[in-house]
């Protein structure tokens, strides 16, 4: 463990997992860098039509 602790987190991947982690880390008082390999975040979930078991819209 470093002695000079940085108050920031890097998240690689901006799908539903990365977005949730980014929101939680930021809301807990940490600076977040959210990296995304593609041109926009959203990941696979953005491609889904509905989600089970409620059939809610994925978007």
């Amino acid at each position: 463990m470093s002695e000079q602790v940085k108050g920031s987190v890097l998240i690689a991947g901006g799908g539903i997992a990365g977005m949730q982690a980014a929101l939680d880390a930021a809301n807990s008082g940490f600076y977040v860098y959210l990296l995304e390999r593609r041109a926009a975040i959203g990941g696979k979930m953005a491609q889904l039509d509905k989600t089970f078991p409620t059939n809610d819209c994925a978007m």
Binding site: K6, G7, Y31, A40
Partner: protein
């Protein structure tokens, strides 16, 4: 947010990493791009659209999808004519914002961070080239991802279920399960992908929704609907007429004249049948894409033989490199709720290391002082959104704008392609300043998603954020009336007129914030509760941990091993010791919560221990009260025979070396005892894996003995499938039974039992002589669930488990703010998933406790003292118990009763306002006068 970027190197240590990030050029300046779409319109190069699974085309300059964030175009360098040959440049020529930059170069950015979370996700298995499925060769064989896009209203067929070969509406559809999962023959993936069974059910249901008389069949090996509420979903699908056929389809063939797909299969009675479908969907599995493997390499994280991140059950989001965490499908196939839980857990674990540096790098947004507008003449600005073509494609937005200009008090009307885009926020701010606007109406999508953004724009322009109203002309108009553009336009005019009438009467509302008591209460001292408490303490918050027993550990005390084979007891002892020695954790054993009051940031709970009780104050609450094992009284001779045990009893007896276990040769495991039945229509998730694991151990310790597992569907989901394969290799006999043909257990001779089961392969009853019968019993809610539901006013689901706020996106939150759940109290789950949820719950609680105060909505019930006579009718209807009766002494000694509102508890629902007979209470922003103006405007049309 950094897009088109990948990690290329990580050095340093936990708390202080140096990360090299390589950013590919976008060739579009995101500061300048206004997402008008002209570039894509003019671009001559058509490219397969990966968002629509290559079913449709996009341009070489593109926005990945309509709702993409950032809402900025990008040029695909592999396909752009200019970047490849130096000719064209149409986009640059036509871009009105001058945003195209062909000179953009790859950049290397060096970031210095405390911790890293890897969440690269999965790729769907690509069945191209596997002759048996014919994917890529037969047009009417598609993957589930393609099916997802076809079903989507925003997809290439606009939600019409037509097949690729001839665009004919599909009448017969088949889903083939386990394509690229549980298959080491045609793929490298031996594991189960966990989600395909339930997504196939969903797609079949949605498909039936699109085509009423559709015949849909799902061909599967084991139906794995092991998640919360999934079993009921499966039953619903059967009720809708979706056919489930238990059979592995060998291969698909095309019918040359019709392009239908033909195949043979074996039915329940063992007959070989031939069948034909219009469309066949391959339920493709989840795998780690090459880009994620590269990420693992650059981040220095080890992957297992299935190419997933290897983790411990007790530290489910940690990786092989300290300070680097992972979440989602990168650490094994899983569904969205599990992914979201892990994401919150990873955020909690990553920031736990950095707790000392909390708030050191974050910035708080500064807003200009508020302009006083109360006495000014009302000047309304109306901003009409085209939402690309979502609105403007249906509604005549020009006519709507001309109409808005004629409405009273409207001083400015603007139209924007995307009113939500960053540049439009500047346009709105400038209009507020230049035109002296003091009320704003945005006619656009829906306030549910976008109201906060526009309110923030008002704030940054110095206006009170509540001087705003939104007219919902997309979700409630252009989307639902797409077939009637004329009438949709008229409706939009009505909606805008209503908003304008209301917004003129709005008054500035003061911001409200409440202080936060930066301590937590964790109820339940099982493995989940202990993990939550330790996580919170490591984040620096004080925790009161309440456990009703006189020991910690809960149900985990009865468990032997995790599915990965890790011993549970030593881990439990370590947790116990850490909890007891942590100075920030106050342990209350033999205690329960007797009563509670308060709200997020300010709870007061009474902890009862025998005759003593004490009140603790806390800002957040975690409920981890666990579950219990189902007692199969009278079933399968349980309680009658001394050789029939529940799985937990069996583990214990083996551990202590019970004589019956030592002497036994043959064993029969019976699955789904108390699960997946009418009384408990859910899968208990852990029992299949447990029986398989126990069967392997029995076979390993005495290979000559016979071990049978009688099951309905073998649900060794995810990488647990490895155990199932191993058990079969070791000679464990698996026999499938149906719910209507339950096995029977009979006493045979003093120390033996006979189990009868109908064998679906032999088509006759099979009698097995055994020494021991082990019942894989259900996990049920315990009494604490209902008690706490009452005390904290929390919802429980139809099975008696706690109901989360959202099945997918908020799997650890209650709908009530500041209360979270973890472990078996939420639904049956194994140790690793309970720990992930416990860490997630703690992380969610930290986001409440991290600030010293919480800002609340100002739309609260407001008492009109002059009108309120203290009749207290509103007290009874208030669902949040936010209203109380007070009495004041007036001059002359007369007592005057009236009500008072606790602003933190009030949610502004308006039930009090609707109930009050005297106009003595109203919700700010929704007064009778304001609503009446809106209603009158609606009727004026």
């Amino acid at each position: 947010m950094i897009t088109l970027a990948e990690i290329t190197d990580v050095t340093g240590e936990p708390g202080n990493f140096q990360v090299e990030v390589t950013r590919r050029p976008r060739f579009v300046d995101t500061e300048k791009c206004i997402a008008c779409g002209l570039c894509a319109e003019k671009c001559p190069k058509k490219v397969d659209d990966e968002y629509n699974e290559k079913i449709s085309k996009r341009k070489a300059v593109y926005i990945p999808y309509a709702q993409a964030v950032p809402q900025k175009y990008a040029i695909d360098a592999d396909n752009c004519i200019y970047l490849k040959s130096g000719k064209c440049g149409a986009c640059e020529k036509f871009c009105p914002a001058g945003a195209i930059n062909f000179e953009d170069k790859p950049q290397t950015v060096n970031l210095n961070v405390g911790a890293i979370i890897l969440s690269p996700g999965f790729a769907a298995f690509d069945p191209t080239g596997i002759r048996t499925w014919g994917y890529g060769e037969f047009k009417n064989v598609i993957t589930a991802m393609e099916m997802e896009r076809i079903l989507s209203a925003s997809g290439p067929t606009e939600g019409h279920l037509v097949r690729p070969s001839d665009k004919k509406e599909v009448k017969r559809i088949a889903f083939i399960q386990c394509v690229g999962s549980r298959d080491l023959n045609k793929s490298r993936n031996g594991y189960c992908s966990s989600v395909c069974c339930t997504y196939a059910i969903k797609q079949a249901m949605m498909a039936k929704d699109h085509v009423k008389d559709l015949e849909a069949s799902i061909f599967f090996m084991d139906m794995r609907t092991h998640g919360k509420e999934f079993e009921r979903y499966y039953e619903r699908a059967k009720g809708l007429g979706i056919e489930f056929k238990r059979c592995r389809v060998h291969s698909l063939e095309p019918v040359s004249e019709t392009s239908d797909i033909y195949f043979r299969y074996i039915d329940d009675c063992g007959r070989q049948l031939e069948t034909q479908y219009d469309l066949v969907v391959l339920s493709v599995g989840l795998c780690t894409p090459p880009s994620a493997m590269e990420l693992a390499y650059h981040a220095g994280v080890e992957l297992n033989e299935n190419r997933f991140v290897e983790s411990s059950s007790f530290d489910p989001v940690a990786t092989s490199r300290p300070g680097v965490f992972s979440c989602g499908a990168f650490s094994g196939p899983k569904d969205i709720p599990q992914t979201v839980m892990e994401a919150s857990a990873a955020a909690a674990d990553a920031t736990r290391l950095l707790a000392g540096a909390r708030n050191s790098l974050t910035r708080t947004k500064e807003f200009p002082p508020e302009i006083e507008v109360a006495s000014d003449e009302v000047r309304i600005g109306v901003f009409i959104c085209h939402c690309g073509t979502n609105i403007a494609g249906v509604i005549d937005v020009e006519r709507l704008a001309r109409y808005a200009e004629t409405l009273p008090n409207v001083a400015h009307v603007g139209r924007n392609l995307f009113t939500c885009s960053q540049d439009t926020q500047d346009i709105i701010k400038n209009a507020i300043r230049d035109k002296g606007l003091n009320r704003v109406v945005v006619a656009a999508c829906t306030p549910r998603t976008h109201e906060p953004l526009f309110r923030e724009t008002l704030k940054s322009a110095g206006l009170n954020e509540y001087l705003f109203d939104m007219a919902n002309i997309r979700n409630q108009d252009s989307w639902v009336h797409a077939a009637e553009p004329e009438r949709a336009t008229e409706k939009a005019m009505d909606l805008v007129r209503m908003s304008v009438a209301k917004v003129g009467l709005l008054t500035p509302l003061p911001s409200i914030s409440v202080p936060v008591n930066q301590a937590a209460l964790v109820i339940g001292g099982g493995i989940s509760g202990m993990v939550s408490a330790l996580e919170l303490a490591d984040h620096g918050f004080h925790v009161s941990l309440v456990e009703k027993a006189n020991v910690l550990g809960g149900q985990a005390r009865h468990l032997f091993r995790t599915w990965k084979g890790e011993l549970i007891e030593p881990a439990l002892q370590e947790l116990d010791a850490r909890v007891r020695s942590n100075p920030l954790i106050t342990l209350h054993l033999e205690s329960t919560v007797g009563s509670a009051e308060g709200f997020v940031g300010n709870f007061k709970s009474t902890i009862v221990r025998g005759k003593d009780s004490r009140v603790v104050e806390h800002g957040a609450t975690i409920i981890a009260t666990g579950g219990q094992g189902y007692v199969p009284e009278g079933e399968y001779l349980f309680g009658t025979s001394s050789r029939v045990f529940t799985a937990i009893e069996f583990d214990k007896l083996r551990m202590v070396g019970d004589r019956r276990m030592k002497q036994a040769k043959n064993y029969v495991f019976i699955q789904c005892v108390g699960s997946r039945c009418e009384e408990r229509m859910y899968c208990s998730r852990v029992c299949c894996t447990h029986s398989v694991q126990a069967a392997i151990e029995l076979k390993e310790s005495s290979p000559a003995g016979e071990v049978f597992v009688l099951y309905r569907d073998m649900r060794t989901y995810g990488q647990r499938e490895e155990l199932y394969r191993k058990a079969r290799e070791k000679g464990v006999v698996f026999i499938h039974y149906e719910a209507h043909q339950m096995p029977k257990v009979r006493p045979l001779e003093p120390r033996r039992l006979e189990v009868e089961v109908f064998d679906h392969i032999l088509h006759e009853p099979l009698r097995i002589v055994t020494d021991i019968v082990v019942l894989a019993t259900a996990i049920t809610p315990n009494a604490a669930t209902a008690e706490l539901a009452d005390i904290y006013k929390l919802p429980v689901d139809a099975d008696g488990f706690f109901q989360e706020a959202h099945a997918k996106l908020r799997p650890v939150d209650f709908a009530a703010d500041g209360i979270f759940m973890a472990g078996l109290a939420h639904c049956p789950k194994p140790v690793d998933e309970s720990i992930a949820q416990a860490k997630a719950a703690a992380g969610r609680a930290v986001s409440v406790l991290a600030g010293s105060s919480i800002d609340l909505e100002a739309t609260k019930a407001t008492v009109v003292n002059a009108n309120c006579d203290g009749c207290a009718m509103c007290l009874d209807v208030c669902p949040y118990k936010a209203i109380s009766l007070v009495s004041e002494e007036e001059a002359g000694g007369k007592r005057n009763a009236r009500v008072e509102v606790n602003l933190a508890q009030c949610k502004g629902c308006g039930l009090c306002q609707a109930t009050c007979p005297k106009d003595g209470i109203y919700v700010a922003g929704f007064s009778l006068e304001q609503i009446a103006a809106q209603v009158e405007a609606a009727l004026a049309g």
